[in-house]
Every structure is written in C-alpha cells, then in structure tokens.
C-alpha cells in the first residue's frame, strides 16, 4: 500500500468556546491516493472545512487539533527525521503533526496547497495579483534555497522594520524570476493576456478569473496535494464548469492529488474517484464514488442523495431528511449515533457509539467504510425506535 500520498488517522479537532467545547471534527480517517481526487461532502457545520484546515495545521484558536495523525509520504523527509523523531516516521511516511513547527510550515507549498471558497477575500486587495502570486513563488524559492528561514514578507513587520524601511529605500522582496514565473502560472491557469493581468488588482478580476489566480498561487509550490475548499461555490455554473475542467487538466499534467471539499454532490460526482460523507464532525461513509452514490449504506447518505432534485427527472416530491443538523456542543452530544434522532431507520442498537464498519464494495481495490450498524446487517423494522424513543434521544442529552 504505497500508493497513498496521505493517510489521515483519528483526526480530532475541537473548539473551546465560551459556550463550551465544540466537537468539530471527530475521529476522522481517510486516505488520499496518488493522482486521485478525494471528495469530502457534507452540509454546513459538518466539519468538512475544519478537516481541511486541520490537515494543513491552520486551525485557529479557540480551535485545537487534540488528536490524530496525518501521515504524508516523503522518503527524504522520513530519512531526515528517522533519528530525531522516531515516532513520527513509519517507512516512507512521516506524521506531519509530530514534526517541528518550522518543518511543518515549510511543507505548506511543496506538500500541501490550499484554495478557498471566496477568492475575493483570500487575496489582498491592495497588492496586484501578479505580485501576490510572485510572492508565493518567492517564498518557495527561498525556502528551497534555505529551508531554515522561511519568513514571508508579511511576517516580521514591526517597529524595527518600519524604521529600517523609512531610512533605507524599500528592498524588493520578490525577485525578477519569481515575477516571470508568476506570469507563467497565470498563463497555465488560462488567464488571457497574463502579463497585463498580472499588473491588475483583485477588484479588476471577475470571480472566475480570481479563482484561477488562486489556483495559480497554489501551484507556485508545486504541491503534491491540493486542498480545494468549496472552490466553485461562489461561482456561476458556467464558470464553475470552467474551473472544474481546469482543476482536472492541472491534476493530470502535474500528477497532483486533490482533496475536494464541497457541499455539491454533483461536483463530487464529476470530479472524484473516492468520496467521504461527513455529518456532525464524523465521516459517516467513505468509499469509491460508485459505492457511495449507488449503494449508500448510511441512511444519511441516502437522505442526502434523496434531497436533491434531479434535473433530468423531476420527481413530484422530494424526500428530505427530517429535522435539523444537531448541535456540536460536547455537552449536548450524547453517546448515541449523532444521526439517530433524524434517522428513519434508527434502532435500539443505535443508542451507543458506532464504530466504522466495512461494508460490501462493488469496486476492486476500494474499501467501503460506514459508521452505521447497518453496514453488515439488514434493517429490521421490529427493532425500530418509535418517535417517542427518538424524542428521548434528544431530550436525554
């Protein structure tokens, strides 16, 4: 099993807020293979974005990754840390979370790069697009030259810097090569007239063009894994189609792996080979696209698929999931399956913690994991929890 670039195990992220502890991501396991697109799909508040941030260690306070391992395959890095951090190395894999902070920071770029949902707020409005991409290139270039010092320009602003800058004419942080590379990157992502556009500010770009610029910036470090968090949610469908085509082309050319996070099941279907469905901070079902979409086992996956109107065959009535997304406050979460109170197939055995089970798979070489008791048994109506019992599930908490 060496074809996985990333193995995530037991990843748990919590937010310690004034209202209490929020279990945003709970024991998440998944693998990302070389050159594949792995999809994470879920509704708002299901923890998919926090999972992405946890992968690259960008969770901000009051959030904290409390547990879990992120195994990343890099033989050189493994060799380098075999002596100093024996626990963090396993064969060719290193556990990114146990590496020193400086190494982790250095990995952002050549190992992981991210694009976010809203390109408008992800770019600095007062710096030209070309400059921002060039800066990303420059950071990578300097990091490669000297891995110890990876300060970007925005770090280290302070009184001293201010004084130096007011006396000495401002030193250009970004070199000429990086500027040229930035223009190349803009051309790569299909921006017409890249030299001209590189000089423009973000507000002069349309939403689709900005998202392309974001992709260019992410490509600056030639990442192994591109994490795309709702990359097309803010875009119109025709522009969305352009960006999805672009992502797929780049992935093939660069041989990247992509972790695609979205709430749109259609985008998942078009882009992903394997997919994980998240609900209330847990991955409730994961496996090959065929298994999850055609033979869903978890009632939540079924419900999600039943909730979307089919554009080709309009059913007279939708079958939504009743109720609302549960609170993720630790004090309000019980021990039972988090979906039990909305689940049409809730049974007695759902009232305690459910582990991941392996379910039947129709696809070779792709395991189908489900966090549901129905993974290896049939639904038995005689065991069903009545509405009263379900109500108790809620009030018990």
């Amino acid at each position: 099993m060496t074809d996985e670039i990333l193995k995530v195990r037991n990843l748990t992220t919590r937010f310690f807020t004034e209202e209490g502890q929020v279990n945003a991501v709970e024991s998440v396991d998944f693998d990302v293979r070389d050159g594949e697109t792995f999809g994470i799909v879920g509704e708002s508040g299901s923890g998919k974005s926090v999972t992405a941030l946890s992968l690259i260690d960008l969770v901000e306070t009051p959030g904290r990754i409390v547990e879990g391992e992120v195994w990343y395959r890099d033989a050189d890095l493994a060799e380098e840390h075999r002596e100093s951090h024996p626990d963090a190395v396993d064969g060719d894999y290193v556990d990114v979370r146990q590496l020193p902070e400086s190494t982790r920071r250095w990995l952002r770029g050549p190992a992981f790069a991210t694009i976010f949902q809203d390109p408008m707020s992800s770019l600095n409005p007062s710096i030209t697009v070309g400059e921002q991409i060039a800066e990303a290139v420059e950071v990578q270039r300097r990091a490669r030259a000297n891995p110890r010092r990876t300060r970007s320009r925005t770090q280290g602003y302070g009184l001293g810097r201010l004084l130096v800058d007011s006396v000495v004419p401002s030193r250009d942080y970004v070199s000429e090569e990086s500027h040229e590379r930035a223009v190349e990157l803009l051309e790569r992502v299909g921006i017409p007239d890249p030299e001209q556009r590189a000089e423009e500010y973000p507000h002069e770009f349309s939403g689709g063009m900005l998202q392309r610029a974001m992709v260019a910036q992410a490509l600056a470090g030639e990442p192994d894994v591109l994490i795309a968090d709702e990359p097309t949610t803010a875009l119109d469908v025709t522009i969305q189609a352009q960006i999805l085509n672009l992502l797929r082309d780049l992935q093939e050319e660069e041989d990247m792996s992509v972790v695609l996070i979205t709430h749109n099941l259609g985008v998942i279907a078009r882009m992903c080979q394997r997919v994980g469905v998240m609900y209330a901070g847990e991955v409730v079902e994961r496996g090959a696209l065929e298994d999850v979409f055609q033979n869903p086992v978890h009632p939540y996956t079924e419900g999600l698929l039943g909730s979307i109107p089919d554009i080709e065959d309009p059913a007279p009535r939708l079958s939504p999931i009743e109720g609302n997304v549960p609170s993720l406050l630790d004090s309000e979460m019980g021990e039972e399956c988090y979906f039990a109170d909305r689940c049409p197939k809730a049974m007695e055995s759902c009232l305690h913690r459910i582990d991941e089970h392996e379910a039947e798979s129709t696809v070779d070489d792709a395991a189908h994991h489900v966090r549901c008791v129905l993974a290896n048994r049939e639904y038995d109506e005689s065991e069903a929890l009545g509405p009263e019992a379900k109500q108790e599930v809620i009030t018990d908490d």
Partner: protein
C-alpha cells in the same frame, strides 16, 4: 393555449431598471460621464394564476432586480407591470397598499431579512398591524354551530357579532362559523339553575354570554381579544402551518437555524393572505436536506392557498423541480421562456443549452464528464453587446450568408474581433510572430479569402491601427447577431426564444 393572456395574473412588458452611476457633483467636476448599469433592460413575460414561473440566470443577469422592480420595491426606469389588470406603476397610495397585501416577497438571506430585535411573532404580525388587520369584511356573514347540552330545557337562539371574521376565517360559502355549547349548571342561587355558554375554538379571543329573556335563552358571541392578541394568535397559527411551533412566537430570530428562519420569512409572506409571492432565491442559502423540506412546504402552500409564485433561482435542478414554466435570463434580458419540460429537454437558445450542460449531476455517470464550457465571462451591463447579448460567448454565432466558414473557426474570428475592438492585442507581439503566423495560432480553422482578410487586419494591428483592423474585420464578418437584437417578446403561446437561429 390561445386564451392564456386572459388569465395572466401578472403581465410584465418591457420592464427596465437602470442604475445611474456617476453624474454626481464630484464626477461632473472631474469630467466623468454618467453611465448607467442596465440591470434589467426590456423584460417581458406573463405569470398565470396558480402557476410557478421560474426566473433563472447567473448572478448579475437581473433576475432579482426584476422581482423587486415589478413589486415596486424599486422604482422602474421604464416599462409596465399589470397585476390583475391594474397598472402597478400607476397605483396611488391607497391602491398600492391594497396591492401590497395581494403580492408578497420572500427574500434569499434568512439572516438579514429578519429584524434581530423583533420576536418572530412580531415579525409575522407586522404586516397585519401595518395594514390594520384584523379587520372585518362586511360581505362575510357570521354564524355559530350551536350544541345544546341534554339537560338544557329552554329554546335557545344565538346571535354572533358581525366582526367574528376578524378571528375566524370564512369558509367556502362565505360564512365564518364558530362552535358554541350551551349547558345548564347548578348554582347556589335561589333558582339553583343557570346557563353557561362556551366557545369551543379560539377560547382566548372569543367570549359567549347567555341571557334569559321571556323564558328563552339568548346566546351572544363576541370578540373579546384585542387586535394584538388576534394577530398574535394568527402568527402562531402561521408558524405552525410552516412547520414551526406556535409557542415559538416569543423567540428571536437568532434562536432559529437558517431553514427555520426561512420558514419564518414564508409565514410573514403568508400573513396577509396574498395571491402572488415573489420567491427570491428562497432556498439558495439552505443546505440540501433543509432545502428539500422548504421546497416541499412551498409546494403544499401553493396547493392549499391557491398561490401564484414567481420563483427566482440560479439552481437549475430546483427550478426544474418546482416550476411550471421557466424564463432564462442573460444580461438583463429574457433569452428563452417556455414550459419547464420543454426548456430542459429541448432547449432552443444556445445559452440555455450551455447552462444546462454545465450543471453537475449527482450521479455516477457524471464522473469525468468534460463539459464544453462557454468562453470568457459575462460582459458588463454598463455597455452590453449590440444585437444579441449572448453573441460574445455564443458557440453558435451565425456567420454571414456569403462567408463559408466552420462554426468553431467563426467563433475564434469573433473572439479576435472582440480583442481588436477592445485593443487587447499587443502590436509588438504580432509584428514579431508575423501576422499570418499569428493567425494560424489564434484562428487555425480558416483558409482562402477569410484568412486573407484576417491577415490584413492583423497587419493593421501590427502597425497599431486598431480601428482600421476592426473595420476590415467587420466588413467581412459582420453577423446578424450583432446588428439585430433578436425578438424577445412573448409569442401568442407566451413563449420566447430570443435567438436568430430560431427565426
């Protein structure tokens, strides 16, 4: 289908809404010319009673502005809107108020469209308060269903206050009825007998008194609740109808989830018993599982109250699900309008085709599907393209009759013409690569006379003479799509295909 015009509840004709930009004192001082953003630029359609018309398009196409302008929430720049035969833009204050009761709106964002300082009960009841409701309708008769308990030994007659219909809704026969029970109670008085009447519905708002005259019992039912109490009770009933609970009237919006807030917004729209509701992206902000709940609710309410919807959305699957007819908008105009099934199964307009093609389907067959995408972005509504608005991106743009050229090559030529007109080309680069060579790269599919004309134009560009180049290209390649706007008036069948290919 021919008499469709007769039952059009809403008739929109050539509706226009421009936003003026610039032209202020400072702009004039600086010599900036006023420009207008043509958000809605001549939109015509009908909405028939009881149907759901979908208004669909990408962001910035003017669909929301259309919805708000036709309700007169924004002042229109031009055009007419007739609601049930009355010109909405000519209404005086009084009739405008009546129109507002009949036409309501539900907004997209359930967070910003509810006042955070009002309870949801007050939010739902606000419209009723403003319109002086509850009021009594003089044409509605009132009556009581009298139940006389066994031990009552007198003849009983009942009178009901005329304003009972403030509380009880009139039935199909135009009569508001309330059940009343009369019974005999033992008392400690000298006769030892008294009679008591109770109203079995709306106990808090209605009262019944019994009087004994000439050996007969007279029961009088009156409205005892204040207007405020009646409104509150109705707000509670509406919240229940949209799937919340009546005892939530005293809660504040922040205590509700997005889906629940959208239900509050729907209850508010229903409070005045409207006939027509503009639903402005009512489910876009909701998660799919909740979205499905709200869509089902909207369906049920339409059946129950006989509502007519104008459903504004960008999600085509939702539109397919809920709409009877669909109008596809592009850059302030209607591109295509027709019955939902026809639009989705046999789209006639190239833009509709491209839009439908782009939607990712949630099914396994979708995997790896490559979509033929439209090139470029939507042009600016400040300066929309002449003729057909879609011609700058249309994959089926029509070549002139006397020019023999492949479709895809003609698209490339048109893109080149755009670049020349906007002076986006770099003369130095063209000079360096040689015009003919540059043409082979940018417009590979052309030969003969076509190629010669393009080369000539590129040579002019290389000399920096963009105007000459643009003129050379225009002479040869001018298309009907840029000279003539396609017909976008609804035909006799109410349908629109604003495309020259369809003429």
């Amino acid at each position: 289908m021919t008499d469709r015009d007769d039952d059009a509840l809403l008739q929109v004709r050539n509706l226009r809404k421009y936003y003026e930009d610039g032209g202020g004192l400072l702009d004039r001082f600086l010599g900036n010319e006023a420009t207008s953003v043509k958000a809605v630029d001549g939109v015509s359609f009908d909405v028939h009673e009881g149907e759901t018309l979908g208004l669909v398009g990408e962001s910035g196409c003017g669909k929301s502005t259309t919805g708000e302008t036709l309700l007169r929430l924004r002042e229109a720049t031009g055009g007419t809107v007739a609601f049930d035969g009355e010109e909405v833009f000519d209404l005086d204050d009084e009739s405008l108020s009546a129109f507002r009761r009949r036409a309501q709106i539900v907004f997209q964002d359930p967070f910003s469209s509810l006042d955070p300082r009002m309870t949801v009960g007050a939010i739902v009841a606000e419209g009723m308060r403003i319109h002086g409701l509850p009021e009594s309708d003089p044409t509605v008769a009132t009556d009581a269903e009298l139940t006389v308990a066994d031990e009552t030994d007198r003849t009983v007659d009942v009178t009901v206050a005329d304003d009972l219909d403030r509380v009880v809704e009139a039935g199909d026969d135009g009569v508001a009825r309330v059940p009343v029970t009369v019974q005999r109670v033992e008392t400690d008085d000298e006769d030892g007998v008294a009679y008591d009447a109770t109203v079995d519905e709306y106990e808090e708002l209605l009262g019944a008194t019994v009087e004994e005259r000439d050996g007969e019992l007279h029961v009088a039912v009156t409205v005892t609740g204040s207007a405020r109490q009646i409104r509150n009770a109705r707000a509670g009933a509406l919240l229940e109808r949209v799937g919340l609970s009546a005892d939530q009237v005293d809660r504040y919006p922040h205590e509700f989830s997005g889906g629940q807030r959208q239900r509050v917004g729907i209850a508010r729209a229903l409070a005045l018993d409207p006939e027509f509701i503009v639903l402005d992206e009512p489910v876009s902000a909701l998660d799919v599982s909740v979205q499905a709940q709200v869509l089902n609710l909207l369906d049920d309410l339409q059946d129950e109250f006989g509502l007519t919807y104008l459903f504004i959305a960008h999600d085509l699957s939702v539109v397919r699900h809920i709409c009877d007819r669909v109008a596809v908008m592009y850059l302030g105009k209607v591109a295509e309008l027709g019955p939902t099934d026809e639009i989705f199964e046999n789209p006639d307009h190239p833009y509709t085709e491209a839009l439908l093609e782009s939607v990712p389907r949630a099914e396994v067959e979708e995997q790896g599907r490559r979509v033929a995408t439209l090139s470029g972005d939507v042009p600016s509504p400040r300066n929309p393209p002449s003729g057909c608005r879609f011609r700058t991106r249309c994959p089926k743009v029509i070549p002139p009759d006397d020019v023999d050229i492949e479709q895809s090559a003609f698209r490339d030529v048109m893109d080149l013409r755009e670049d020349v007109a906007a002076e986006r080309l770099d003369p130095a680069e063209i000079r360096e690569t040689e015009p003919a060579e540059y043409r082979k790269q940018e417009v590979p599919g052309i030969t003969g006379e076509n190629a010669a004309v393009v080369d000539e134009a590129l040579e002019a560009v290389a000399d920096g003479e963009f105007d000459t180049a643009a003129e050379t290209l225009r002479e040869r390649f001018e298309t009907v799509c840029e000279t003539t706007p396609p017909d976008d008036e609804p035909g006799a069948d109410g349908e629109v295909v604003a495309c020259h290919l369809h003429d």
